[in-house]
């Protein structure tokens, strides 16, 4: 998903999405190795990421991004678009996807050995016209909770799907 300015928005129509879109993942255990790999990718240096602070392994903020696969694990119903995106992210082979915005609330950090359950709900679908063309602006809510119920992160994530101008 690439990025684009969404300043020039014209509201054409708005459609809410039914609750039936909600998905719930299987519990996923946080591994110290995954925290270390994530920390390496974002160049985080906090000793907590590597269990060197005496307080266990604590993931840096943003670790929830590593659970993207948990809701749609590769398997029998997993499909990929020609541009590499998993089909479940929305749109189809004829559309381009532009990351429009993200809002994250941090309640507690992820820790190694946490067991996490992710719930995803499509909050809204809005038809809009921007300078890159006409398309659908979709916003999802994801909740990341321990399997014992504590909310760790709430994320709203918006993507603009549009027909590419290949002229």
């Amino acid at each position: 998903v690439s990025e684009e300015t969404m300043e020039d928005v014209v509201h054409d129509s708005v459609a809410s999405t039914p609750e039936a879109e909600a998905r719930v993942s299987q519990p996923v255990r946080v591994r110290a190795l995954d925290v270390a790999r994530f920390a390496s990718a974002i160049e985080a240096t906090d000793p907590q990421c590597f269990g060197e602070s005496g307080d266990g392994v604590v993931a840096p903020p943003g670790f929830h991004f590593t659970f993207g696969q948990a809701l749609f694990p590769p398997g029998s119903d997993y499909q990929r678009l020609p541009d590499g995106r998993p089909a479940h992210t929305g749109g189809d082979a004829s559309t381009q996807a532009l990351a429009a915005g993200t809002e994250i609330e941090f309640f507690e950090p992820f820790r190694a050995d946490d067991e996490v359950v992710i719930t995803e709900r499509l909050l809204s679908v809005t038809r809009k016209t921007t300078r890159v063309g006409e398309g659908e602006f979709k916003t999802w809510e994801r909740l990341y909770k321990r399997s014992t119920g504590e909310l760790l992160v709430r994320e709203l994530h918006s993507v603009f799907f549009h027909q590419p101008d290949r002229a």
Binding site: D34, P61, G62, R80, A97, A100, T102
Partner: protein, 146 residues
Amino acid sequence: VTATVKDPFVPGASIGEITRSPDAVHLFEFGAVGWFTHRIHYDLDYARSEGHAGIVVHGPLQGCYLSLLAEGWAKESGGRLVRLAYRHKGRAVLGRTFTCGGRVRDVVPDPDDPQFRLALCEVWIDDDQGVRTTDGEAVIRVQTQS
């Protein structure tokens, strides 16, 4: 001896700066841990076919950079990052250096707990070509000084 500690939570105060120059390996690592499979993040020809100037740096990776900036300052200041919102304004391309910065815009009481206050901070990422790739707001929660 009484030391005077300057309150960092004042409008206009800088929350610091970090720079990142992600290379192809960083993007590979980030794509792998997050299952970001879109070709624009690793296939230069494909990225160009979508109109990008180069391999595109993941939006969530930029969000992580802003999180590191805000969380780092929050910890140094005795606070905690509680919210981050951002929008992508320009395309972030592999090979550039990204400078993440921010400043306190306002400080308000925490409506949920009078023992705490919230520092509302503007945050942004600029690349070394002068392109603002991302901007947004970080909210840092800190105990009210007695």
